[in-house]
């Protein structure tokens, strides 16, 4: 059972994500309304599929008449980065019950990954219950905002680019907190270059996953070379 203190700490950690999800969840719901998804189903999809990028991609692809297999493949490629997040959390869940591990893993997003990773690295008392609560609070905020957006429909005219930049800023803040040491700078630089190149050659769908992988490989190579040079 989670205590009141756990809930308060998790709510405090999740708060920036929840605000961001309101800002981008409502426009996402408006787009879902355009393809006939009502508030109840928008809430349901947001709680189960629960993918900002995936849900944003879905509506224009359906409206454009894209074949189902192409939609699934495009969104699947974008979602592949989730494997990295799941793997990164595995050391923290070594002794955690399977059911809680599954609930936690199934509700990780880019943003909750960042906040929970930052908490695990800076707070020795951060645990799986608080981490899962962060995921659940974030998910409820996302799902409620999607439902609201779907209910209000085209009556809303929101500057989506400005609102979604709020999430980019959150990623930038989390990146700044991780940039300690030369290896991190190498990883960051190579990831940036790899993403740019992948987008230039029209492989934007896998740019985040493949760019991050390139950065990780570069970081490992750099550490290997540095350890040999220092030996």
């Amino acid at each position: 059972m989670s205590t009141r203190k756990d809930i308060q700490e998790a709510l405090k950690a999740a708060f920036p994500i929840m605000l961001g999800y309101v800002a981008i969840g409502i426009p996402c719901g408006v787009m879902e309304n355009e393809i006939g998804i009502g508030p109840f189903f928008a809430f349901f999809i947001s709680c189960t599929f629960y993918s900002g990028a995936g849900q944003f991609m879905m509506s224009p692809l359906i409206l454009a008449g894209t074949p189902l297999a192409s939609i699934a493949l495009s969104i699947g490629l974008v979602s592949s980065r989730q494997m990295l997040y799941s793997a990164a959390f595995s050391p923290f869940f070594a002794s955690v019950r399977k059911r809680l591990s599954v609930l936690f893993a199934a509700t990780v997003t880019d943003e909750s990954f960042g906040v929970n990773m930052e908490r695990y690295s800076s707070d020795g008392a951060w645990d799986e219950r608080k981490a899962t609560l962060v995921n659940i609070f974030s998910m409820l905020s996302w799902a409620t905002s999607n439902a609201l957006g779907s209910a209000l429909g085209a009556a809303l005219d929101l500057p989506l680019d400005v609102m979604s930049f709020g999430m980019t800023s959150i990623f930038a803040c989390l990146l700044v907190s991780q940039l300690a040491g030369t290896t991190a700078v190498v990883v960051c630089t190579v990831s940036f270059i790899a993403v740019a190149l992948l987008k230039l050659v029209g492989m934007g769908g896998i740019a985040v996953f493949a760019g991050a992988l390139a950065g990780i490989v570069a970081g490992l190579v750099f550490e290997e070379v540095a350890s040999h040079a220092g030996a």
Binding site: L68, A69, A212
Partner: protein, 112 residues
Amino acid sequence: MQVHSFWFLYILLLVPMLIFRVVPLLVLKHRDLPPKVRAALGLIPVAAFSALVASDILQLDLWARDPARGLVPIAAVLIVVPVAQKSKSLVWSAVAGMLAYACLSYAVSLLG
């Protein structure tokens, strides 16, 4: 799109997403990982955030339409970085980013 087609698409999207999210954690959590793998897992956060930021700010379609518009997200993130360093706050970073993006977009539209 018909209702049954949409449900089919929903399953096509949901199943891989759950596999991506759940399987790596369940497979790796009980294993005694070699040092190299542990080192790689430790690099995931910085690599993932770098890739996410890069993907968000390098918007080639904006560049193609208007290079000045393409510069807006890059310039805005350069404003976010010192705010993030100083405040260490996700909320203030998000507020600064959205304000910077809105102001820069407005400035570019005035120039255009």
